[in-house]
């Protein structure tokens, strides 16, 4: 049997062009895999219309499944009737059709004979038995079959559950896990072949507990959502809004499945669809997809269902101030206080946590290998900031255990099942420790997976109580920046980590980067800029606002000058620099990464020059880089002096403050370069950046020569843009100040009021953008925009 050491998928098929199938296809396309998307043949002349429609629909979905719009072209529509033979070329086939065993069995019988013997077949089922599905396959195929369960939306949800059957080839599972983690960037949890697997089993239980206790405590749905969102470390959509997004029919289906497939679950009585939910589904109110569900939008107001009357009322959902204060305490005090309080909101919160802890403890040995898998599954699949065992452990294992026992004894829990014995092990302070996490099945602590792919994750997602990551040796520490290195990987490459809040770039960060560069040039072979996401939300606006308020414009001028000196120092340093980017990289953050030698970008990197939103233009070298790049692009054409065609898109990006929706998009927009590295798994960024910096150094790195004769669009380019601005202003679509800021951006990108095609050097462009920035920052309108952004987080139109 072919057991590849490393899986390399060039061509894949996704069976089922539903919302999930099409989105999985989009993710594969981003990973540069040719994808065939299959569905049933349509009746009309165009037999592939269903799959083609689904591919077309990808561009309209939010959040965007396509990492870059042109990726839709990498997905080919197919149907089971005409394209069956094309499956022979697919190395991986992902089945994602409707959740019905009979339909899946019939499909497997139809397609299996067309597959290559070496092809891997996986099912994206969210709850059917993999053993039952495997039984529908010929014995020879079963070794190359397993469950690969993505979460919706698959591009953005980290979790993938990998579910083996007794026949699955162990080496293949390892190869598949490696591929899912590194090539698709997913967080893999090995789940057992139990109904609804791991994340949904706990997550749906939690939702049912929320519904039960919300009703018992007399809380409205909106009040429940206010309590079960970010306040307790869960997503903004909280509970009922999540149900609307998932689809109420889907939810009912999942509840039915739980009841039907878990006859022995002690909590089975909870697996019931509440009457109000059944009534909603019966009248076609299925949530977001029908624009009517637990919530509905009436004009501008959001209304929520009142289950008693069946009517809707305006949603409010206030959390008591005392409860908010209580939730701000440290975990042990917080949980003690919740339990002690008589407030219905507190009683509700304690009850939902307690019953989830109780359920997880009892079910751990049946549904998961270990507690770490449970916690990561809820974090990656449901967006919880901490998993249930982590919360329990943080709250004080023994105290919470005693409280649960007392509640069981008092008949307050949803079920009287006793806590398993391992919970009471003397001296137990939790389930996660430096050596591993508790496995109830094996009654010992399970260390992390030793698959080599995880060695690339220098800072993986860790659970509470786990050993800390190696933070290396500090070379330099200043208020804004820590320079350090990881000798076990490469003692010659320095790592610059920004220490400011949200990694905003203020004066202390600039000083730190400059100091780090000095050390690097003297003692190191290269430099990496890395820290946890976000990469940087921009320049430190607070410092700018303070200087404006104090009228210290000379200080601002010095700051702008220092910003440029820093980015130029990066670009022209004797050692290569590699920015390891994830999440937001805006404004000054974008400028910082633009000036590095190379970039390692997590796929989910959101990069853009957004200064326009606060009435400014990029002045840390951003406009200069864009102008130089436009000239370089023009130079490759027959008319190298005609740079305006290349300046125009750059202007549009700056003037609209557009942010790239992925690393691939950032390359298209010119903030990153075609030679940059896209890390599908963000946890591999540092590893890849260290390797990239080393490779640059080993290859005899030389800094670029200063660019001296840059052709610019000049006064005609500015006039072209002013023509557009004139129309927008007259049409009432932009304000006079928008015009002013946009014209400044036009000037900076066109090299100022020069003859078109004039040649300038970088110093000219840098001085120009600095000068225009300082003019804008002294206007009352820009200062108002900055204040407004700091106060509200939203742009002001003035």
């Amino acid at each position: 049997m072919n057991k590849p050491r490393r899986l390399s998928i060039r061509r894949a098929a996704v069976l089922g062009a539903g919302v999930m199938g099409a989105q999985i296809a989009a993710l594969l396309a981003a990973a540069r895999i040719e994808v065939l998307l299959y569905d049933l043949p349509a009746d009309a002349d165009d037999s592939r219309a269903i799959a083609r429609g689904a591919i077309g629909g990808l561009a309209r979905l939010e959040p965007a499944p396509l990492a870059s719009p042109e990726l839709a072209a990498a997905i080919e529509a197919a149907d089971y009737e005409h394209d069956l033979s094309r499956l022979a070329d697919c190395e991986l086939v992902i089945e994602a059709i409707a959740e019905r065993l009979d339909l899946k069995e019939a499909l497997y019988r139809r397609i299996e004979p067309a597959l290559a013997p070496t092809a891997i077949l996986v099912s994206n089922t969210s709850g059917l038995s993999l053993a039952a599905l495997a039984a529908a396959l010929p014995p020879a195929r079963r070794a190359r079959f397993c469950g690969v369960h993505f979460f919706n939306p698959p591009r953005y949800m980290t979790l993938v559950e990998l579910i083996a059957t007794e026949h699955s080839d162990a080496a293949l599972l390892d190869a598949l896990e490696t591929w899912l983690v590194s090539q698709l960037g997913k967080g893999v949890v090995r789940a057992l072949d139990t109904p609804n697997f791991l994340a949904n089993r706990i997550g749906v239980f939690s939702l049912l507990a929320v519904m039960h206790h919300g009703a018992a405590c007399g809380l409205g749905f909106d009040e429940v959502d206010a309590l079960t969102g970010p306040l307790i470390g869960r997503p903004k959509s909280a509970s009922y809004r999540t149900a609307d997004v998932v689809g109420l029919d889907t939810l009912v289906h999942v509840i039915d499945t739980l009841r039907a497939t878990l006859p022995d679950d002690p909590w089975r009585a909870l697996f019931q669809t509440p009457d109000w939910l059944a009534a909603l589904v019966a009248r076609g109110a299925l949530g977001q997809k029908t624009r009517l569900g637990i919530y509905r939008k009436q004009g501008r107001t959001i209304e929520v269902l009142d289950p008693a009357s069946g009517d809707y009322r305006p949603a409010a959902g206030q959390v008591d101030a005392g409860i908010i204060a209580l939730l701000r305490q440290a975990a042990p005090e917080r949980f003690a206080a919740l339990r002690a309080s008589e407030h219905p909101q507190a009683r509700f919160l304690w009850a939902i946590f307690r019953d989830v802890f109780h359920y997880c403890a009892v079910q751990l040995e049946h549904i998961a290998d270990n507690a770490r898998d449970v916690d990561l599954a809820l974090r990656w699949g449901f967006g919880w900031t901490q998993g249930p065992f982590e919360i329990w452990q943080a709250a004080g294992w023994a105290a919470v255990t005693a409280a649960i026992e007392a509640d069981i004894a008092a008949g307050r829990t949803l079920c009287a099942a006793p806590l398993p014995a391992w919970v009471h092990t003397p001296g137990r302070d939790g389930v996660h420790h430096a050596g591993g996490s508790w496995s109830a099945r094996t009654q010992r602590e399970r260390p992390r997976s030793t698959l080599p792919v995880y060695a690339r994750q220098l800072f993986p997602d860790r659970v509470l109580g786990e050993a800390a990551a190696d933070i290396g040796e500090t070379l330099l520490e200043q208020p804004g920046v820590r320079l350090w290195r990881l000798p076990r990987l490469d003692a010659g490459i320095g790592i610059v980590s920004l220490q400011s809040k949200m990694h905003a770039i203020g004066e202390e960060v600039l000083d730190g980067v400059l100091a780090a560069l000095e050390v690097a040039e003297a003692e190191l072979d290269g430099l990496v800029i890395w820290h946890e996401a976000p990469f940087a939300v921009g320049a430190n606006l607070k410092q700018v606002a303070e200087a404006c308020a104090a009228g210290e414009f000379a200080r601002l001028a010095a700051l702008a000058d220092k910003f440029q000196r820093t980015t130029q120092a990066l670009r022209y340093a004797r050692v290569p620099s590699v920015a390891a980017v994830q999440g937001l990289a805006l404004g000054g953050g974008c400028e910082l990464l633009m000036h590095c030698t190379q970039r390692v970008l997590a796929l989910e990197s959101y990069i853009g020059l957004v200064e326009f939103g606060v009435g400014l233009i990029p002045a840390g070298g951003g406009c200069t880089r864009l102008a130089v790049q436009a000239a370089e692009r023009a130079a490759a054409t027959a008319t190298p002096e005609e740079v305006f065609a290349f300046v125009q898109p750059a202007f549009m990006q700056v003037a609209q403050g557009r942010v790239a929706n992925s690393a691939l998009d950032a390359v298209r927009m010119g903030y990153a370069q075609p030679g940059d590295i896209v890390a599908f798994n963000p946890h591999e960024r540092l590893y890849l950046a260290l390797k990239a910096a080393r490779a640059l150094s080993e290859n005899g790195y030389r800094p670029p020569l200063p660019v001296r004769a840059i052709p610019v669009a000049g006064i005609t380019g500015i006039a072209n843009i002013e023509m557009v601005l004139t129309n927008l202003q007259l049409g009432g679509q932009i304000s006079a100040h928008d015009y002013r800021v946009a014209k400044a951006a036009a000037s900076a990108l066109c090299g100022g009021e020069l003859d078109p095609g004039s040649r300038v050097d970088e110093a000219w462009l840098l001085a120009l953008e600095r000068c225009l920035f300082l003019e804008l920052v002294q206007t009352a309108e820009t200062q108002a925009r900055i204040r407004h952004m700091l106060e509200t987080g939203k742009p002001l139109r003035n």
Binding site: A719, E722, N727, G731, G732, Q733, E753
Partner: protein, 398 residues
């Protein structure tokens, strides 16, 4: 011996169907469309020796790239005209095609030529943006008293709508009526006499065979008119040029591709060759207005034209008034008191499309064949022109 002033007669006029931008003629070159109509218009008068043509005057509003390099001369040669026949391209934006007809007539009227070919061609599919292939705006405009040179056409339509109080509802109703008339004309076959169908030849990659797959597709009718155009749907469109404005994509002219040609002769040739004229060219005027209200251009072109020729408005049976925007067309109709029934009986540019420099020649063909069919006497072609001008041409069926 000095030459006599003489009349100029149109003996043939034809046009291509008008395609939507990036539509039927997406990959058809404007010089090919032009060569086609030049050849077709001559074929309609076979007894006339092409060598007698004094000049080929072609209107084009963006004479660059595929329609640059003096498109008139290139297309004349491609159409098979003798080397001895010259060609010149003229540009007065949206009046270019009518300007070509007027210039050709003037050469005959002056006695400088006996036979002239006038035409217009424009492919807006060839233009990456409506400002042409390369935008290079003059910086001197800003800070001058002529900032309105920078105004987009849509914005000038908003200005006209505001100053002449043309309501959104009226604009949408006008647009719907334009489509209704165009569809009615198409179904009654009213355009058959003026259109020379065009065979689009396609060259597509055939991945299976690895060869270039040649295709042919005949285009024989205008692509723009919509049978399903309704006021209610038009009313839902958002204004595109100004926040809170009234000008939408639905009540503006369509961007299009097309060409037309008109053959003119002197009275002497008319008699000698025993030709039946479609009409006599009467007169032509052009005048300027402020660029910011360019849409009311016909207001300064039509009255002097009538005054000079002594023809009363009531005597005009058919008016082709280019519908750049419903707002400006309505302002002109109301200000001059034009009879809506006689204005664009077959619909206008909102439905039929507006291939800028070709429109003047295209609508001349429509007018002259329309007068023939309806046995009308006087007909008028008029339009507003970007940067603030109006043009009007008067024709008389004999």
């Amino acid at each position: 011996m000095s030459r006599q002033l003489q009349d100029a007669y149109i003996v043939a006029a034809t046009r291509t169907p008008v395609g939507k931008r990036k539509g039927a003629f997406a990959h058809t070159r404007p010089d090919d469309l032009l060569a086609h109509v030049l050849a077709r218009v001559l074929a309609q008068v076979p007894q006339l020796d092409p060598a007698r043509i004094g000049d080929v005057i072609v209107g084009c509003a963006m004479p660059e790239a595929e329609q640059g390099m003096n498109v008139a001369r290139i297309a004349a040669l491609l159409a098979g005209l003798p080397d001895s026949v010259p060609g010149v391209t003229v540009n007065r934006f949206c009046a270019s095609g009518l300007q070509a007809v007027a210039d050709a007539a003037a050469r005959i009227q002056l006695g400088a030529a006996e036979v002239m070919l006038a035409a217009g061609t424009e492919s807006m599919s060839c233009m990456p943006q409506i400002t042409g292939n390369k935008l290079a705006f003059n910086p001197a405009v800003f800070g001058s008293e002529h900032l309105d040179i920078a105004y987009g056409m849509g914005l000038t339509a908003e200005k006209v709508a505001g100053r002449w109080q043309v309501a959104r509802e009226d604009q949408d109703a006008f647009a719907a009526e334009s489509h209704r008339r165009a569809i009615a004309a198409q179904s009654s076959g009213a355009f058959a006499a003026e259109i020379s169908p065009y065979c689009v030849r396609t060259r597509a990659a055939d991945a299976a065979s690895g060869v270039v797959r040649l295709g042919e597709r005949w285009v024989d009718s205008d692509e723009g008119p919509r049978a399903d155009s309704r006021i209610e749907a038009l009313a839902r469109l958002k204004p595109v040029f100004a926040a809170g404005g009234s000008v939408t994509a639905g009540n503006s002219s369509q961007m299009s591709d097309g060409a037309a040609a008109v053959l003119l002769v002197s009275e002497r040739v008319l008699r000698a060759e025993n030709l039946t004229p479609l009409a006599r060219f009467v007169d032509y005027t052009v005048a300027g207005v402020a660029p910011e209200v360019m849409g009311i251009g016909p207001l300064v072109a039509i009255p002097p034209l009538l005054g000079r020729s002594g023809v009363r408005l009531d005597d005009i049976d058919w008016i082709e008034l280019n519908e750049a925007f419903a707002a400006q067309a309505l302002a002109v109709i109301r200000e001059l008191g034009l009879d809506p029934a006689r204005v664009n009986p077959h619909g206008g540019a909102i439905a039929l499309g507006h291939p800028l420099g070709a429109t003047g020649a295209i609508r001349t063909a429509t007018l002259l064949h329309g007068l023939q069919r309806t046995q009308g006497r006087y007909g008028l072609v008029s339009m507003c022109v970007g940067t603030g001008m109006g043009a009007a041409g008067l024709f008389e069926r004999l």
